[in-house]
Amino acid sequence: MKLTLKIWRQSGPKGKGLFESHTLDGVSEDSSFLEMLDQLNEQLLGEGKEPVAFDHDCREGICGTCSLTINGHAHGPEDSTTTCQLHMRKFRDGETVTIEPFRAKAFPVVRDLIVDRSAFDRIVQSGGFISVRTGSAPDGNAIPISKVDADDAMDAAACIGCGACVASCKNASAMLFTSAKAAHLNLLPQGQAEKDTRSINMVQAMDEAGFGNCRNYGECSAACPKDISLDYIAKLNRDHAKAKIKKIFS
């Protein structure tokens, strides 16, 4: 395959970014999108140019490190797929592929396609944990949890924190991420003690990080590689309202 790559280049956080075009020949249909970028970087190094900086780690769709907005789609046009699991056979020979970093004020560009997603860490630090010791595996099994609740919590916990929800949202809202991280604890008995403070603090951390407001478009869930449901946003809206009302009367 021969591709024209239109790639965002930016020297640093303060740098003014621009698109740069490269032609890449001999791309295997079986290679992953990141392997294609590796191939481009080999070519750039051979030409004595600076390679393109991009985030990647496990390359098996579970760590949430890879990002990229490919032809306007966070993680590319395939549903339920991270960039690292996207294969070049999904593109046509001779196609122009536009590759941009995840765009949001709360995700400043570090370099080229790498963005700083530590705002997500600050949201988790504000309440995405439980403070009690839950014991070892047998102790965990000693607390009865219904299959329905366990499955629901697991679906929320599937969030890999990649930031595709923010990148695909027209308002750069982090509600899908925040709600998933709150829900997988708020749904389980271990998470009940801190449920109210968690629901308030995580929303506060999200607001302070400069994310936008949810407008119920559903673009986040459509782009999510783990298919996190909009239900969790409704649940966080509910949990947050309950916590605020309880706070008024306490």
Partner: protein, 254 residues
Amino acid sequence: MFSSSLGKKYLMALTGLVLVGFVFVHMAGNLQVLAGQAQINAYAHSLQSLPWFILWGSRLFLLAAVLIHAWTAYSLIVENRKARPHSNDIEVTKRAGLASLRMGLTGSIILAFIVFHLLHFTIRTIYPEYAEMKTMVGSPDETEIHDAFLMVISGFKQEAVSIFYVVAMALLCAHLAHGFSSVFQSLGIRSESWRSKLDLMGIGYAWLIFIGFSIVPVSVLVQKHGVYETYDPSFFSQEIEQESLSQNPLNNES
């Protein structure tokens, strides 16, 4: 309570819910025009003669709902623009419909419509002669009351006005198509199994409101231009002919 991003969403949802309820009551009230001059005049008179604190209390309550809804929307939009200063080179929309993406536009036009509508039919500054329209038809006693029927028919006989009303109601339909179901999402009263049902209910409700509000201006124009030759003028009411032939606006060629 209302300072956080979610707090503002609660305000949007709660004020939106008030307005969702109001448009239905308003529409049901309007449809009494079809039942005749006596019916709509008596209804309008009964509203006007409510105790002042109920009348003005509900007016201020509705006005506050509109203003809070509009101001909160404005502040949310400003924040959202700041949150995403750089848009994508290729902007892809996978799921959101046009109605949901254009809530700000439809909302702004509806707000302008509300101002026009209040000046037109409620405060009556655009056509001060509307305030002079008095009749005995529909009056509960022997006194003259405001002729709401004549005012509505005169108002909608102007094509530009009727078209503006119908267009505004179409935009309200689009606004409700996203707004109705969003109320439930923003307040967290929604689950996956109810999601599609509430979305459908929202769309159904939006169409109901659009059709319900558009019937009156469309009927007036249809009659004025004689679109249906077999149209029976008594459609609006028998009472007009019997009681107020002299000032029946439907018989006047404008």
